[in-house]
Symmetry: C2
Subunit: 261 residues, 2 copies
């Protein structure tokens, strides 16, 4: 597979840094083509601003999504954004590797998403045949898969189906559903490394093996079965039709198959 | 009330900028003491790094949470972080105002959370009487309330209980539960402004009034009834005890009262 591996950790000597150092060469050894965006090493700027648009700045009050689209369509997005977009387009699998900070992605990775996945590129694309906007199960990034590789201090149970922190797939809902699924990137269940400050001897090596195996097989793994907009389960108000997941509310209502792991 | 108002939008002429301009003076007129952190205007740096620790850098491989705690306890966190912490401590209500980007907070606000709410300050504090860690309903920020004021292009139904984007309180779970509730900040239901690109005439003024009223009454509003760690609903594995919300999984299992709005 052609893999884009995005890493968001400030310390190369951290667990995440060491994991990347161990896993990426092994994946290359297995024949995968791995391109990397090590956001801290690159000094990636996560702050979306009108400086992202080269040339004349947008008129004050222009919606961000509008001038981002203009920038994309006219080739006026800044070079760092265009470079990341090209890496995404050249990938079959997008891996986001990060420590779970405040139950989400580190700011540098959130900004990579904010600045790179612009209107007209990742979303806001229309099917010329139907005139419908392609989103939630389809979109500008359709044809690829997404995997979040996330390390947490929390113990496994805390991030399980009834865990105090919330199920990891609910915690990462904004990434798995709101970013991957929204753009047509097939979302794989999150790859969780838990209790990372309390690993016994040998655990690191086992986790390296588990992650290599997971990514190596990612091309044939079943994605999270989120309902799609095109599938007809949602009405004109963008809410589930009454006969779909009847009586259910919450994230699980948007799955075609329960229970989840 | 003493209010800390944190705004995260790059454009002062945006809807969010105009809303802040209209609402904050009216709140002051009502007698509230409003302190502001306009993150873009401040040029706030959202990238957590070892530069946050003044003096000798931490040894490579030191967990982030550990050296942040050291920095806090020894007064060695950088000045911008300490200034934000002082503003938080001086507030009864923390308002986070932001546009919903990729179903979460903009990177500049995520970084404000990542860098400011460090171990030993917002979490990782122990009850000296019991020796137990205070979190989920208690913590370093106990005694204050939190309100997310969020603008979205999505229509209201898309962010409702059965909406395609997920219920706004599930979308914001990492903020409402994972940040506010986790640190002891009582989480109020999110204040949602939807369909912001399609407001009819007069809607802006109505929304200003609705937000002023909401914040003015925030001191007596019922918070989201998330279960607390100290309340005994969770076992030693940090999962819900079998007799609590029996058979339920997902975020709603962590509420003491259903249904939600």
């Amino acid at each position: 597979m052609r893999i884009l591996w995005v890493l968001a950790h400030p310390d190369p000597a951290s667990l995440n840094g060491k994991l990347r150092d161990a896993v990426v060469p092994r994946l290359r050894g297995l024949g995968h083509d791995v391109v990397e965006s090590d956001l801290y090493r690159m000094g990636f700027d996560p702050v979306l601003s009108t400086a992202d648009l080269l040339g004349d700045p947008p008129a004050p009050g222009t919606p961000v999504s509008d001038w981002q689209r203009t920038g994309h369509e006219t080739g006026r997005l800044s070079a760092d954004i265009r470079a990341e977009q090209a890496k995404i387009l050249g990938s079959d699998l997008l891996v986001l590797q990060f420590p779970l900070w405040w139950y989400g992605v580190p700011a540098i990775l959130k900004g990579w998403i904010d600045r790179t996945l612009v209107n007209g590129f990742a979303f806001g694309v229309t099917d010329p045949a139907t005139g419908r906007v392609r989103k939630f199960g389809d979109g500008g990034l359709a044809g690829r898969r997404g995997l979040a590789v996330v390390s947490a201090g929390d113990r496994t149970g805390a991030l399980g189906p009834r865990g105090i922190s919330g199920h990891i797939d609910d915690v990462l809902w904004p990434v798995l559903h709101g970013t991957f699924h929204y753009t047509g990137t097939a979302p794989l269940p999150a790859h969780l490394l838990s209790s990372v400050h309390h690993w016994p001897g040998g655990q690191f090596e086992r986790e390296v093996g588990r992650l290599v195996e997971r990514v190596h097989g990612a091309g044939s793994e079943a994605p999270i079965p989120y309902r799609t907009l095109a599938g007809g389960d949602y009405g004109e108000d963008y809410a589930l039709r009454p006969e779909i997941s009847p009586g259910l509310t919450g994230n699980e209502a948007h799955l075609t198959r329960l229970p989840r792991g």
